[in-house]
Symmetry: C2
Subunit: 235 residues, 2 copies
DNA sequence: GGCAAAATGTACGAACTAGTACGTTCTCTT
DNA sequence: AAGAGAACGTACTAGTTCGTACATTTTGCC
């Protein structure tokens, strides 16, 4: 902090050969590159050396900050989950009409998943690994999911008004919305190849967004006591 | 084919030290083990040596029959897709009432995905690889998807009767059904960890099966012209 | 200013992994 | 029955990959 220091290069522009310690930036730089690598190639497919190479620093630092390939991967996962939870918490749905609140929630979920393919891929990858890395995470375990509470309040409000008649649980509703939004992105490649329909096309996207909203809303308005006809199994 | 051959061991029970050639069985044995390995550990995570070890034969034979790790993986994928298509084709939905036909289709899809986790995992894995292996497959490209046609006929019948009013396309409907059934299995591990709800529990399964059926049916019965309210984005 | 701890860089190694060179046995055809 | 090709086994290698031993610089602090 003292003014005159003959050996220190000026703090603002450090392009001189002299090294400059910057722990936070180094750490985040590694995380950014690692996220890209793991999201692209998976945990097994991702290479520590490849990550190190694209970093401003060296492989040594990866082990200095994250201990192992697995530690790095987990840190990436934790940041990805923290990101979506943080944004979810800024959603302000309690002032909207119940139906409109649900539509807004779907709108957000749909767009977020569509725009954050990396997140989708990381979650898919972690599921392939049976969430065995996440199990060790105290960070993710403590990320409380306010979406569920929010949905709960919306459903209650809707049922009080009478617009919603279906006794569906908040978690089930969230599952249903997530499933569709997630699948569109996660399974885009095989689906496109088999059914010859580009799920990334803007027109398709708009149609699908309307479709999932319609499906959820009509489900919520129905009484949820579908006539369970005896299903004729083809055996 | 000739009767007396002094050197050949009896054809039925071959537990003698003398080797017995059996190309088809060897090939299928490798495929079975490989499916398990790749479904468990992914393409990058799967080890050729590990597969060879659990096989009745040796690594040499993997390369003899499949050429490379990638070739083996693709063969596994092709068989998995062939399996589901073959079973799908035995579904006889054209004799059912439209609504009942849709419910039966959902019932089948739900149960199949639930019971064939390996298939789900292989598809997830292939999507992580952006379907780059499948792109090279002539087998999968030529597996025509009769489900879509079947759904098309059901929808037409339902609209003719008037039970269905929604102009949804067969592919979109299939996507919607698949998405929910698939996601429940594919994302089971992270979902369970975060939302503390065991998606594999029988009670949950039954409830979800009814839920997706209700959602789809009410969507089909609605006119599909949801009031597109101006969405108040929270920015 | 000098010292200890934090932060960083270089070079290397042990283990793993896909793939193959080479040799043997089986089986079909004639 | 004999020859040819298909089916199979063993042992090895070249390249990769995670991780670390060792050395150096930077920085906060008294």
């Amino acid at each position: 902090m003292t003014a005159d220091d003959p050996t220190t290069p000026d703090a603002s522009t450090a392009s001189k050969p002299g090294r400059k310690n910057n722990p936070e930036a180094t750490r985040q730089n590694i995380l950014d590159v690692a996220r890209e690598e793991f999201a692209n190639l998976g945990f097994s497919g991702g290479r520590v050396d490849a990550i190190a190479e694209r970093t401003r620093t060296t492989k040594r630092m990866i082990y200095y900050y994250f201990g192992s390939k697995e530690g790095l991967y987990l840190a990436v996962l934790e940041q990805a989950y923290s990101d979506i939870r943080r944004i979810e918490n800024t959603l302000n749905l309690d002032n909207l009409e119940p139906e409109q609140a649900i539509r807004t929630l779907i709108d957000f979920t749909f767009d977020y998943q569509e725009q954050h393919e990396d997140f989708i891929r990381l979650v898919s990858i972690e599921n392939i690994h049976r969430a065995e890395h996440m199990k060790d995470s105290t960070v993710i375990a403590n990320l409380n999911v306010t979406v569920i509470d929010t949905i709960g309040r919306i459903l209650d409000a809707g049922r009080a008004t009478g617009v919603f008649r279906n006794p569906i649980s908040p978690t089930d509703l969230h599952l249903m919305i997530s499933a569709f939004c997630f699948f569109r992105v996660s399974n885009r490649h095989t689906f496109t190849l088999i059914f010859h329909q580009d799920l990334a096309a803007p027109a398709t996207r708009a149609r699908h967004k309307a479709m999932i909203a319609d499906a959820i809303i009509s489900l919520l308005k129905s009484d949820g006591t579908a006539p369970v006809l005896p299903l004729a199994h083809s055996t």
